[in-house]
């Protein structure tokens, strides 16, 4: 091939992983291997696994921080920690769990699964995917470097000014947080763009928008939300950093700055973000439950629309974090009502899950236990959110442990439980081995009991008036014993998490071979080998229904499709996948995919150097960072003939 190819009618073939054509594909898609391959890979499955692993490491770090805090709070007048140590711990606990665990772990699932769910060979922008991971990793290390030096952020994850201003917080603590968040925002933004384009461009032929799994709807919604939400917080942190280091006065009261501006910007981001870290997890359940209830999800369309609606409404409720700040009664009433309306799409999802279980035939696997118990935890976290949406009641509840209980039911109940259930569900696909069901059920019950014993009492503590973010409390307020219970329960929960990790470890080595589709599940990822080959699919499948692998089992008109899994576009001239139209997924163009490259890593390193330079105010490093960032970007964008798209 000497000239650039512009037209080609792709070959349609029958093939599986065992076919001779697959050897060509393997050669096309395999990277160099070894440490070079490790640093240069753009394979979405590798990147997905790294996201999952890194997020779990951060979960453990955040969990250890929580364990130390619970030890401090177990009894009145605890003196294990100083006030400043406690402030750094609760700040880093929040930052870690919210930014370095909760979204990245879902990005891990989505990165790993999306192309497999969508019948594609990679994400739309594989290099951007690698870049997004590296920036996330470096931003995490950036934030934690200060922790090791004892100068970690110490004003809570919400970082309210003026306490975060230089006047009251002169150390590097807040600068680290501000710059780290801007850096992390780069990762989130490019990751979100990648998901959006991947969904609208690389679905298998026939997978129209009303046939994609709910997890895809969840991550799509979260990604669009992030694109609108992240700029608010990146801007806020940049303004704060300029206030602190360059002498601007955005938040400086003495110069007419507004402390409440920070809160508005932060929560305009913060509340949609909460939905971004639960909607994909709700999607995991919506896709997992049907497999274990042996029937399609009840109300697919309603659940998909509820997912989108939740996020749209989520942009109109930020001030419910600010009910006590002295807003006028009129805006309080608006934000109270809009926050309550979110109950409606949530109710749609809850009743869809219940109906799926009720009208199905549940199979009691460990994953099913996590998914079904999630529904209960979702409702508990939901109704406590409903209570705090009521302005007058919230003026008592806000800033207390009631809110701590609420947010942990939301984040652990709606994120951690589906995530762990999702690992039990997809572990066979990712590793080719089954996890131990016996140990799995033990780990579930210990996690479930530990979680409820540990976190339900926090509702009671909140009703007994215990404020959040206190490093100690006197006796005589009726808080002592419930705090002891909460500490013991949370330790039990930690044991459950540890058992889950032990299960992962053991099963990696000794789990039974899984086969293609151990659960008899309906979606495309289960049609390929476990673990999937580097090219995902021997041919690009054609999809004709929502549950392609269940066709023929269901006698429903709409769902008997005629999907073809092992016959389709071969696309073996180098790394290729098919580009399809936005809504109907009709094949439109052959996408030439980039090979493995160090450029994403180098760009991430250059960007990190820039941020380290800004933190240290080492202007030579800033200059070098800018220059290297430009160079790496130019290298990345340099036109390559082999990457030009081909019309079919």
């Amino acid at each position: 091939m000497t000239r650039t190819e512009t037209h080609r009618a792709p070959v349609i073939a029958q093939a599986t992983d065992a076919s001779p054509s697959s050897d060509t594909l393997r050669k096309n898609w395999e990277g160099p291997g070894g440490w070079r391959g490790w640093l240069s890979t753009v394979d979405h499955k590798e990147i997905g696994k790294r996201y999952l692993l890194t997020a779990f490491v951060f979960l453990l770090i955040g969990g250890l921080e929580a364990a130390v805090m619970r030890a401090q709070l177990a009894t009145p007048d605890g003196h294990l920690l100083s006030a400043e140590q406690y402030a750094q711990l609760f700040t880093m606990h929040g930052v870690t769990m919210i930014f370095l665990y909760a979204l990245p772990v879902l990005s891990g699932f989505s990165n790993y699964l999306w192309p497999l769910l969508l019948g594609s060979r990679d994400m739309a922008f594989p290099r951007l995917n690698a870049f997004s991971y590296w920036v996330f990793l470096f931003a995490g290390i950036f934030l934690y470097a200060s922790f090791v030096m004892g100068k970690a952020p110490d004003d809570g994850w919400f970082n309210y000014v003026p306490y975060a201003s230089r006047e009251f917080n002169p150390g590097p603590n807040i600068d680290v947080y501000a710059l780290g968040m801007v850096l992390l925002g780069v990762s989130t933004t490019v990751g979100s763009i990648n998901f959006i384009v991947t969904l609208f461009r690389t679905r298998a032929p026939g997978m129209s928008i009303n046939r994609v799994p709910i997890l895809v709807w969840g991550t799509l919604t979260a990604s669009v939300g992030n694109l609108f939400a992240v700029p608010a917080v990146s801007l806020a942190f940049l303004m704060l950093w300029m206030d602190r280091q360059l002498g601007t006065h955005f938040f400086d009261v003495s110069a007419g700055g507004q402390p409440l501006l920070w809160q508005h910007l932060f929560w305009m981001f913060g509340h949609p973000w909460v939905y971004a870290i639960v909607l994909p997890a709700m999607g995991i359940v919506s896709d997992g439950l049907p497999t274990f209830c042996r029937r399609p999800l009840v109300g697919y369309t309603a659940v998909a629309l509820a997912t989108v609606t939740t996020m749209v409404l989520g942009f109109g409720v930020w001030a419910h974090h600010m009910f006590a700040t002295g807003l006028p009664v009129m805006s309080l009433s608006y934000f109270s009502a809009s926050s309550m309306v979110i109950v409606i799409p949530s109710a749609v999802a809850v009743f869809a899950w219940i109906a799926t279980i009720w009208t199905g035939r549940p199979v009691f696997t460990t994953a099913f236990l996590y998914f079904s118990s999630f529904v209960l935890l979702f409702v508990i976290g939901g109704v406590s959110g409903f209570m705090t949406a009521s302005v007058p009641v919230d003026l008592e509840l806000t800033h207390t442990y009631f809110v701590v209980a609420h947010l942990h039911y939301v984040l652990i109940g709606i994120n951690v439980f589906p995530v762990v259930g999702g690992i039990y569900y997809w572990f066979p696909k990712i590793t080719g081995r089954m996890m131990s069901e016996r140990l799995g059920k033990w780990s579930f019950w210990i996690m479930f009991i530990g979680f409820n014993v540990g976190f339900f009492p926090m509702h009671i503590l909140g009703l007994a008036g215990m404020p959040r973010r206190v490093y100690t409390y006197p006796s005589g307020l009726g808080w002592g014993s419930w705090n002891m219970v909460a500490t013991l329960g949370s330790y039990l929960f930690a044991i459950g998490i540890a058992m889950f990790l032990v299960n992962v470890w053991i099963s990696l080595k000794r789990g039974k071979a899984a086969g293609r589709n151990p659960w008899g599940a309906p979606s495309l990822e289960w049609s390929t080998s476990s673990p999937p080959p580097v090219y995902n699919f021997a041919v690009i499948p054609n999809v004709a229904s929502r549950y392609p692998l269940w066709e023929g089992y269901m006698d429903d008109d709409e769902d008997t499709g005629g999907s073809t899994i092992h016959e389709g576009l071969l696309l073996d001239h180098g790394r290729e996948t098919i580009g399809t139209t936005m809504l109907d997924a009709e094949p439109a163009v052959i996408l030439k995919m980039p090979g493995d490259t160090y450029t994403p890593l180098l760009l991430a390193l250059a960007l990190t150097l820039l941020f380290v330079g800004l933190l240290a105010q080492a202007w030579w490093a800033v200059g070098a960072g800018v220059l290297l960032t430009l160079l790496a970007t130019i290298t990345w964008l340099w036109p390559q003939r082999k990457l030009s798209q081909i019309e079919r």
């Binding site: 109300g299 006590a324 002295g326 009502a337 409702v379 800033h399 007994a464 008036g465 404020p467």
Partner: protein, 339 residues
Amino acid sequence: MKAGRTLLVGLALTLSHDAWAATPMSYLRTFGPAGYPVTRLGWGLGIISVSVVVIVGLLLLGGIFRRRGPRRLSDPNALAVRRDAGGMAWIYIGVGISSLVLIGAMIWTLVVTAVVAHPSSRPALTVQVSASQWWWALRYDTEQPSRTFTSANEIHIPVGQPVRFEVTSTDVIHSFWVPKLGGKIDVIPGQTNVTWLQADQPGVYRGQCAVFCGTEHARMALQVIAQSPADFRAWQESQLADAPRPATPEQQHGTRVFQSHCAACHTIRGSNAGGLVGPDLSHLMSRRTLAAGVLSNTPGNLAGWIVHPQSVKPGSRMPDQTLSGPQLAALMAYLQTLH
């Protein structure tokens, strides 16, 4: 084993003890009209919430155990799939009922929001609260400037009358909260927020800063002391008076110590001490606690606080004082006259 049982028994005892012991910060019962409708609403929403959780829990259990799937996935039946048969009625009915309850709760919320926004009668007095890291300055305003006075951390109010609070901060954001009387209002520098409270029963109501405001956020308490109107007036008169002049030589020595060590930050009306950084100490002995509710106001605690505030409340703005024994004794003798 034995240790475990002892722990369990101890836990059960303390739990039941706590359950009945006073919870001075709980707002499950409130003691004034700024709280009553909110408490009723809170209980109402709480009961709705618990009911929803119970109903969903039962439906889930019913769904799970109603028609068990195959016990093992190796069972050939395990892979049988049911056709997409209905279930939408669940969503229609469930969401329909939820929406009705929701609209009811919303209307109730809006009504209560409007009701508690303002007191039903004109407030009897206005207290200006100025929060700082980590204590509360109070200023009792009246139309006559001569009857205005300042105090700290302990707010006296007359029973049965609404009191207006104008709150602001000298440094970072705090939150003013006396749970048994009503909800919070954030205390934000550069703006003055207004709220009101009323106590219908005499007593001491504990409050605490509720927004993280730095290292000693956990120990920034306040107290509202509700008194009969007559007692309140008497207290007001006593606060208006200047501090007594030192009578004995030791007390006179004490004023000099105060002047050299304390007066840069603290005011004692009727003396030369006029510092504005720390609490007004003109009537220090009339207060029940020290250091914003951290210590009860006993002579031993007071002496300890003066000499070592940094070990009592690390990070506090008050520096440790180097005083000789006789200096401290003289200072204590003087301070104890400040009733």
